[in-house]
């Protein structure tokens, strides 16, 4: 029966979003679509164990879920026609001719900008990713009931406000795709470095899910180079995960990582995607530039071989696309390698990032290199105070304590 178990896991991964998305369009209700898809998978556990895995598991699931949904709607519509109608998703008009895939409609609906960011994340993981509510609650250290309410509330808003189930029009598309990619990046980052001391530093389940969803979006929007860029960025970041936390649970920074532990396969795929973006010759967006920066890092066999001039040039580019202080902080790290800590510190000191732990951690490192131990210590103290994750705090403590006595 492990064959059935394996088949189910694989089919769940491949077909969940498609079944929910098709159902949502055909019956016009996200809630029923989600519930009936879950029921169809539960039914599959029993039926497939008895009768074997059907030749087309996706079709079996869609048909089963659809039949159940129709039954449910018939039962309910006899009772409360009006109510039923009120629950319908805003009917999708004819496809606007961009890309017509139900999964895309589902993704755009889940990532609608009128929903709170946490709601977008939760809905996307549940409806597109197929994670269960307890799984999502665990990932975000939220009570199951609270996570359930968050998802329910988002679905009710979609219904009540008439948030449409469709791919945005051509003119709105770039901005809305940007919104979708931001949600996926948020999921990845939360997995790559938890924002909370109570959580594991790195949660591979979340990073893997973010990569899977980004692959899906990239497949559905093949002309979007930022989707390619985001995927490359995630792969090149994920490749370093095995070297990122030490055996004692301490964060290992890029310069100190054991590069032989990096995942060569992910790096090769990430590099190929970055090359494809460059070959396309369009002005790159922020994800493509970030991916290129990570490609340079992962190109160096040894931290000392890093092409810092190239990285600084890419950051210059990024500052033009996104002049935020955090980008300029990261740029200063490259500047320190090229022009020395003094120049970098002058650039860092003017940034309005006093509440951001990485700002103080960066200052601390620069001050240490300039031999200003007292100030470095104060900066480490402040970074430790602000850092969210225990692996990061452990690293900062060690660095501070290496400064030696005053």
């Amino acid at each position: 029966m492990t064959d059935v178990g394996e088949a189910l896991t694989r089919v769940h991964r491949e077909e969940w979003a498609r079944v929910v998305a098709t159902l949502a369009r055909r019956i016009g209700d996200l809630d029923v679509a989600e519930e009936m898809t879950a029921e169809a998978f539960a039914a599959a556990v029993e039926r497939w164990s008895a009768d074997g895995v059907p030749p087309n598991p996706g079709a079996w699931l869609t048909t089963t879920a659809y039949r159940r949904a129709v039954d449910r709607i018939r039962r309910e519509s006899r009772r409360e026609d009006k109510h039923r109608e009120a629950l319908m998703l805003a009917a999708a008009p004819e496809p606007l001719g961009v890309i017509d895939d139900d999964r895309l409609r589902l993704i755009f609906t889940c990532c609608h900008p009128a929903l709170a960011v946490e709601a977008r994340v939760a809905l996307t993981l549940r409806l597109v990713g197929g994670l269960t509510v307890p799984e999502i609650a665990r990932a975000y250290l939220v009570q199951e009931s609270a996570m359930g309410r968050r998802i329910t509330r988002a679905k009710s808003k979609i219904r009540a406000a008439g948030i449409p189930y469709r791919v945005p029009s051509r003119e709105d598309l770039p901005a809305r795709v940007g919104g979708v990619l931001a949600v996926l990046y948020l999921i990845f980052n939360e997995g790559y470095l938890a924002s909370d001391p109570g959580k594991d530093a790195v949660r591979a389940d979340l990073t893997a899910e973010a990569i899977r969803l980004t692959r899906l979006v990239r497949m559905l929007l093949p002309d979007d180079h930022e989707a390619v860029g985001l995927l490359a960025l995630m792969l090149l970041t994920e490749a370093r995960r095995p070297a990122r936390v030490s055996a004692t649970g301490e964060l290992v920074v890029l310069a100190e990582q054991d590069r032989s532990a990096w995942d060569r396969e992910l790096i090769a795929e990430g590099h190929a995607l970055v090359r494809a973006c460059i070959a396309a010759g369009r002005p790159p967006g922020r994800y493509q530039i970030l991916a290129a920066i990570n490609a340079v890092h992962t190109d160096a066999r040894d931290a000392r071989d890093t092409d810092w001039a190239q990285i600084a040039a890419l950051y210059d580019h990024l500052v033009r696309v996104d002049p935020s202080p955090i980008v300029r902080l990261n740029r200063a790290v490259a500047v320190a390698e090229l022009d020395g800590p003094q120049v970098a510190l002058a650039e860092v000191d003017v940034l309005p990032l006093d509440g951001y732990h990485a700002y103080h951690a960066t200052r601390a490192e620069l001050l240490r290199r300039m031999g200003r131990g007292g100030e470095a210590r104060a900066a480490y103290d402040r970074a430790i105070e602000l850092a969210g994750n225990s692996a990061e705090t452990a690293y900062l403590r060690r660095r501070r304590d290496q400064l030696g006595g005053r």
Binding site: K82, E85, A86, A90, P93, H112, A114, A160, A161, G162, I163, P164, R166, P168, D172
Partner: protein, 110 residues
């Protein structure tokens, strides 16, 4: 077709300026021309409100608004649109034209 309430959030006394009124008038014309118009109006200052509670049959009157807040609803539009993504840019335009924040909220469908 769904209906939406666009409430204008205000925290200043004094009504819209002449330029704002002109922009709002133009916006209203556009709503009518495109078939979104249901109703719109500006409200007098919150101090002019009277709270009426007649749930037990005897109206009890309170002078002033039901809740004292820094911000209050200064006016509103009721618009009609096929879905949220059509209503949203109209709300954005409404905010721009009346030069205030607005709240977009769906009516319960009948």
């Amino acid at each position: 077709m769904a209906q939406y309430l666009i409430s204008v959030l205000d925290d200043t006394t004094g009504s819209a300026t002449e330029a704002e009124m002109a922009a709002i008038g133009e916006f209203n014309e556009r709503l009518r021309a495109d078939g979104h118009w249901v109703f719109a109006g500006g409200l007098a200052a919150p101090e002019t409100a009277t709270v009426v509670d007649a749930r037990d049959g005897n109206p009890v009157l309170t002078d002033g608004p039901y809740v004292e807040t820094k911000e209050y609803v200064g006016g509103f539009w009721i618009i009609e649109a096929p879905d949220f993504d059509v209503a949203l840019p109209l709300a954005a335009l409404a905010s721009q034209r009346c030069n205030r924040r607005v709240e977009l909220r769906p009516f319960l469908s009948a």
